[in-house]
Symmetry: C2
Subunit: 131 residues, 2 copies
DNA sequence: GAGCGCCGTGAGAATGGTTCTCGGTAGGAT
DNA sequence: ATCCTACCGAGAACCATTCTCACGGCGCTC
């Protein structure tokens, strides 16, 4: 039996309100900042659930897990600003095909893949070149 | 001034002797198993150096950093068995081009990318279907 | 070959993100 | 309203990694 608690909703909302990827810790801090008395463990549990159910994507950077609300049910990848965390969903059909083919060529089965593109978003590029 | 210590050599050798990706901890354990009195911190330092100098590749999986000896100076990606860790170097020229193009389309500069393909290697596939 | 300066090492402590524990609380079915 | 039980919260536990600092060995110089 699955329950709808206001804590889980708060996490889902806070995640949806964010532009790019956020760490669990940052999300917890921001929830606390808005007066929600949510436990850190609960944030981790909610994020893990959301990621498991496909409502959020996660990636690991510098030892931290980052999360982002994502269009559910669709397979896609991200273009992520390594400075501010802003992320753009991108489809990568050619890469999907390539991954499957490469795996098959080497006799690998059940192919998965991790594809992320990092860079500096337009704003951060401008700021960097101005500095 | 850069020094050649037997510890660094031991780490390089142990890494070169391994088939796929290994964790720093596992490498340390295996070095200790062969009688080398190497410190854990030293293994971490050596691996970080090797990765920095391009003699090793690293990836993060399940909160652990995994390392592998790699052909130096070449840009490539990996096809990794998610069961036994065996890895095959693969070149991904079409993906390189795609990543640059996608980044440019969205105004992102200085593109990086993370591309890894996971799957079950032939041996593990056979073992899995036999079970 | 001997001396010397200083980098690399090692053991253990510190760090920091994540997970676990456990008593208490509240969702939802009846 | 009541009961069952999944969920929550606080803090402790965990674990990979990094830091600290005294010591030993590497490589340069003579």
């Amino acid at each position: 039996m699955k329950r709808n608690t206001w804590q889980r909703e708060a996490v889902r909302d806070a995640l949806g309100r964010t532009e790019g990827f956020v760490s669990a810790q940052a999300l917890h801090a921001s929830l606390r900042g808005t007066g929600s008395e949510v436990g850190l463990a609960t944030v981790y549990r909610a994020l893990a659930d959301l990621a498991h159910e496909g409502e959020a994507d996660s990636l690991v950077q510098e030892g931290e897990s980052l999360y982002r609300a994502c269009t559910p049910g669709s397979h896609h990848h991200h273009l992520i600003c390594r400075n501010c965390g802003t992320a753009v969903e991108i489809s990568a059909d050619p890469v999907e095909a390539w991954a499957r083919q490469v795996a098959a060529e080497h006799g690998f089965t059940e192919p998965n893949h991790v594809v992320d593109v990092f860079g500096l978003c337009p704003e951060c590029s401008a700021a960097a070149s101005a500095r």
